[in-house]
Amino acid sequence: MTAPARVPAVQIQYDSLERQHVTARLGMWVFLSSESLLFAGLLALYAAYRLAYPVEFHAASTHANLVIGTVNTYILLTSSLTMALAIHATRRGRRRDTVLLLVATMAMGLTFDVLKAVEYAEHLAEGIAPGGYYTYEGLAAHGAVLYVTLYYLLTGLHALHVTGGLVMLAWLTVRAHRGDFTPGSHIALELGGLYWHLVDLVWIFLWPLLYLIG
């Protein structure tokens, strides 16, 4: 038995699906704005400690893995392209392309997470761990511990967002595959795309702040 085609439901307070989508889009922007402020707290801490310990931050940042950080930058930028193209394909009614592009986006997000895990493992093996677990002796301790702790907090919070995004993308891929999205109605896909681009946006700033401050 095949599932019946899913007709998007108009909630009672809207006179049309289009108007409902207008509200959903605004709600998403409010959510993305508050997400940005979640990162703002950590970025403000970073600003304060970097100003207090410029030399230590510089020295500690040279221990970040620039190759992995840079490759991950290109990966996330490219995954934003495939996400945008996936929505474009839906608008053109090309379901197969949508699914393929979403899978490509997920593959890149997963690669990002794996590379990040490799990087963490390298640091931890050296004793470059957050807070009181820091045992690395090659750096002047005090400011370096603050850099390292902020490095873990910022990249960790970001990696959690990538991982959450992957779960969301998997769900969107299933929905795209079974034909939930039509050229005229695909708000979940559109909002999911906005979320994925925000994750990219955060990394655009984390990369220079954590890897390139030398």
């Binding site: 840079t70 390139l212 401050i213």
Partner: protein, 119 residues
């Protein structure tokens, strides 16, 4: 002046009108890749405090590209731009306020003492 709800234009009801199209997306992506590579070279060429300024300026340009075209803020409803700009304004205020505080403390070491002076 507020308009009645039913006067939302077709453009405002649908975000499709502002989508750049496949070629547009690819061009934006190319620009992002070029800017990222530029950041990498600039961070090697420009040393001292200006390196970070240059890197952050390029990051800002990349962010604007993503927001304007991938996230359709260019040409979309103005209220989306307003919402996000408000959050960014508070982010900048927070960071400027903190920099003004930390940057004007007379003795750097008292800052360390205030923080409990971890070894």
């Amino acid at each position: 002046m507020a308009r009645p709800n039913d006067e939302l234009s077709d453009d405002e009801l649908s975000s499709d009108e502002h989508a750049p199209g496949a070629l547009g997306y690819v061009l934006v992506w190319l620009a992002l890749i070029v800017l990222a590579t530029l950041t990498l070279f600039a961070s090697r060429a420009v040393t001292g405090g200006w390196g970070l300024v240059v890197a952050l300026a390029i990051a800002g340009a990349k962010a604007l590209l993503v927001l304007a075209f991938f996230m359709h803020l260019a040409g979309g409803r103005p209220v989306h731009r307003l919402t996000f700009a408000a959050a960014m304004a508070f982010l900048v205020l927070l960071i400027l306020g903190i920099l003004a505080d930390v940057g004007t403390r007379s003795i750097a070491s008292s800052y360390v003492d205030d923080m409990g002076g971890r070894p």
